[in-house]
């Protein structure tokens, strides 16, 4: 009466209930905060080049986040979101992929894009919605995307990318190109109906997709204790029969290892995988948020000690692959570069008026062309009222 693969179920004659405690969920840890590796740990595939690339990405991430929060306070950008404290989970997982694997993010995964080489200019142009923005100035800051880098443009509605990732990965399987999709989402977004739909579709149709949950303890003000009653997101893997692993999200090697193993399995077996990375959102949800309204400084301080970047640095120092001089030079340069890039991007013009009506369809249909023509005439009549576009209308 059920799938053959679960045939052997035990018969009982008195009621017995399962619940969240019926399965124990171990957590994978490889790197300690002091930069040493657990004795019995199986290290991920990593060499000096990769290690330094990862670390430089982390540094860039930290600096960009710092500077952009400041830029937002100064009113230079309207909005920003940091990944403070969670950088390791994102950079570690991105590093475990093939650069041609598709990444579908939620919004706090700029680290993955950095790892793939999205330029500082590209970040800036998006945030300033200027005419060089790949997204043509249409979305709020941090909604990056790049076809070239196989990083799907971020979309604000939460959870929608989860079933999309299943579909994308199914397409990759059909084409037999040995690539997979990695889909990031928060533990909050995992409450959406789309989560259930996406994981179930992937499991039933054997899509090579890695569902990567960043469990950072909060969805804006809502703590995870009010988000779900089960043992995190990993405990749901049982119900979908999806291979699932929980990792210390602040341990970049645990994340990298899990992702490398997951990717191999996903592609070899055409199967989805769940990785749950346990971390903590050390910063505000976004520049519009003030966490003091819902949590204590004490709580924050407790997690600040688990900084994933410092942890990796400690390891690099121990390898003699890095020193404090390099450290200072790197951060100084990054700070300068970011500041210069802000100054450059903020003076670039906004996209021309045409871009208001392109890309709604592949072509501009007649009714929209008519609306555009009327708008153009109107702006010509009142150029002062539309300073962003009036100057460039012919």
């Amino acid at each position: 009466m059920d799938k053959a693969k679960y045939q052997s179920s035990r018969v009982i004659h008195c009621p017995e209930f399962l619940d969240g405690h019926s399965v124990e969920i171990p957590i994978l840890k490889i790197l300690k905060q002091d930069g040493t590796v657990y004795d019995t740990a199986e290290m991920p595939d990593i060499d000096q080049a990769l290690a330094l690339k990862m670390y430089k990405t982390l540094a860039f991430h930290r600096v960009l986040d710092e500077r952009m929060v400041a830029a937002q306070r100064q009113g230079r950008v309207s909005f920003y979101m940091t990944a403070l404290g969670e950088e390791g989970a994102v950079v570690g997982s991105a590093a475990g992929l093939n650069d041609k694997d598709m990444i579908m993010g939620q919004y706090r995964e700029q680290g993955a894009l950095m790892f793939r080489g999205f330029s500082l200019e590209n970040f800036m142009n998006q945030m300033f919605s200027n005419e060089l923005d790949l997204g043509k100035g249409r979305q709020m800051p941090i909604h990056y995307g790049s076809n070239e880098l196989h990083y799907m443009t971020i979309s604000s509605p939460l959870g929608t990318q989860i079933p999309q990732a299943a579909g994308y990965a199914y397409g990759q399987k059909l084409q037999g190109n040995e690539l997979c999709t990695l889909c990031y989402f928060g533990e909050g977004a995992a409450s959406e109906g789309d989560f259930h739909a996406g994981l179930n579709m992937a499991a039933v149709h054997n899509a090579p997709v890695i569902f990567f949950c960043r469990n950072n303890g909060y969805a804006i003000s809502t703590p995870s204790s009010q988000q779900y009653a089960g043992n995190g997101i990993a405990s749901r893997g049982v119900g979908y029969d999806i291979k699932t692993i929980r990792v210390d999200g602040n341990d970049i090697f645990a994340v990298l290892k899990a992702t490398q193993v997951a990717r191999k399995y996903a592609i070899e077996h055409n199967q989805p995988i769940i990785i749950e990375a346990m971390s903590y959102r050390l910063g505000a949800h976004s520049t519009s948020d003030d966490p003091s309204g819902y949590r204590t400084r004490d709580e924050e301080a407790k997690y600040a000690d688990h900084d994933p970047i410092l942890r990796m640095k400690n390891w690099l120092l121990a390898q003699n692959w890095w020193d404090e001089t390099q450290e200072k030079a790197l951060f100084d340069t990054l700070r300068e570069e970011v500041l210069a890039a802000v100054k450059k991007a903020e003076v670039i013009e906004k996209p021309p008026l045409e871009e208001l009506v392109t890309d709604v369809y592949d072509d501009v249909p007649a009714h929209l062309q008519e609306q555009y023509n009327n708008l153009k005439e109107h702006i010509k009549k009142y150029p002062d009222a539309y300073p962003v576009t009036a100057g460039r209308i012919k």
Partner: protein
């Protein structure tokens, strides 16, 4: 040419599309081996294998999310929603995702390969949840195209065009006509244009506009009116979004009168959009108010379906009222 009913015409279009392009994939609830509850996807799994035609779990939001991802990847998904009444769990995936995918990404990504097929409308004693005509809910969404065929010939040609068009399309199939409407359909591949209305019959006194299954109702009403000496021009809108303002306006400028007919409730239905546009474009030509003969502003009923429907008698009465205004 072959005699086909509307289901066969759709099945034929799907066969052609799948044969031509190995990246075309058909899926939905019961769409696989069984061929769909209406059998529109019959034999596709046998012909093209389980990877390209399959049952999905019972989740419309999952179907559409999966389809969006597949389209973004470059495959050509044709997703079936078993009844249009059940498309609403997928509303977010369609309205916030499919429709805005290209725009929000600056064309870095798009889901233009997507086609959604779904049976709509009354006539099968289906009550609230097997009868709805939800086209207007989607027509307020820039980025989508919406198509409704009226007969087998139209169905095959429009569906092939929809599958190949580079925009996400909802293709509403008038399920009342699935078996009832039979006609000559070319066996070969052909396409009919999207975004173009068709003047089905020319006339001089009033323009009657509709789509899908209601075209038959309009034709019957026109026959009644012709007997009273009223010359009716009949237009099948075919595409609801973008819609062919030009053809409709030209017709109304000629006839001076317009009647629009749809099954969905009056308030907020697509007839409102058409009336608003045409009163603007044809203000000085209108000899009577634009008439809307639509479903009542109630959920779709069961015992009173006949009373609810914008049938030929109500349409005929409205024609005569317009003429005698």
């Amino acid at each position: 040419m072959a005699q086909m009913n509307l289901l066969q015409a759709i099945n034929d279009a799907l066969m052609i599309a799948m044969k031509e392009d190995p990246s075309v994939v058909c899926f939905g609830e019961d769409v696989g081996h069984f061929g769909g509850v209406f059998r529109a996807t019959s034999n596709l799994q046998e012909e093209f294998g389980e990877q390209r035609c399959f049952n999905t779990p019972l989740t419309e939001q999952g179907i559409m999310g999966f389809a969006n991802g597949l389209a973004a990847q470059g495959s050509v998904p044709i997703a079936e929603i078993q009844f249009a009444d059940y498309i609403f769990p997928a509303f977010d995936q369609i309205v916030n995702e499919s429709a805005k995918f290209r725009y929000r990404s600056g064309n870095e990504f798009n889901v233009g390969n997507l086609t959604i097929r779904t049976p709509y409308g009354g006539g099968i004693a289906g009550g609230l949840y097997h009868s709805q005509s939800p086209e207007a809910y989607f027509a307020h969404t820039p980025g989508l195209k919406i198509v409704v065929p009226r007969n087998p010939y139209q169905a095959k040609g429009l569906l092939l065009a929809a599958i190949r068009d580079k925009n996400p399309i909802i293709f509403f199939e008038p399920k009342k006509l699935y078996r009832a409407s039979v006609g000559e359909v070319p066996e070969e591949d052909y396409q009919l244009p999207l975004g173009k209305a068709e003047v089905v019959k020319t006339g001089s006194d009033i323009t009657l506009l509709g789509w899908g299954a209601q075209m038959e109702t309009i034709e019957k009403a026109a026959e009644m009116a012709e007997k009273k000496g009223v010359s009716c021009e009949i237009v099948d809108l075919r595409s609801i979004l973008p819609w062919d303002v030009e053809t409709v306006a030209a017709s109304v400028k000629k006839t001076g009168r317009l009647l629009i007919n749809h099954e969905a409730p009056l308030t907020g239905g697509f007839a409102g959009e058409i009336a608003a546009t045409i009163q603007d474009k044809c203000f000085l030509h209108l000899e009577s108010p634009i008439a809307r003969v639509c479903g009542l502003d109630t959920p779709f009923p069961l015992a009173h379906e006949k009373e609810y429907m914008p049938d030929e008698l109500k349409t005929f009465e409205a024609i005569m009222a317009a003429i005698n205004y």
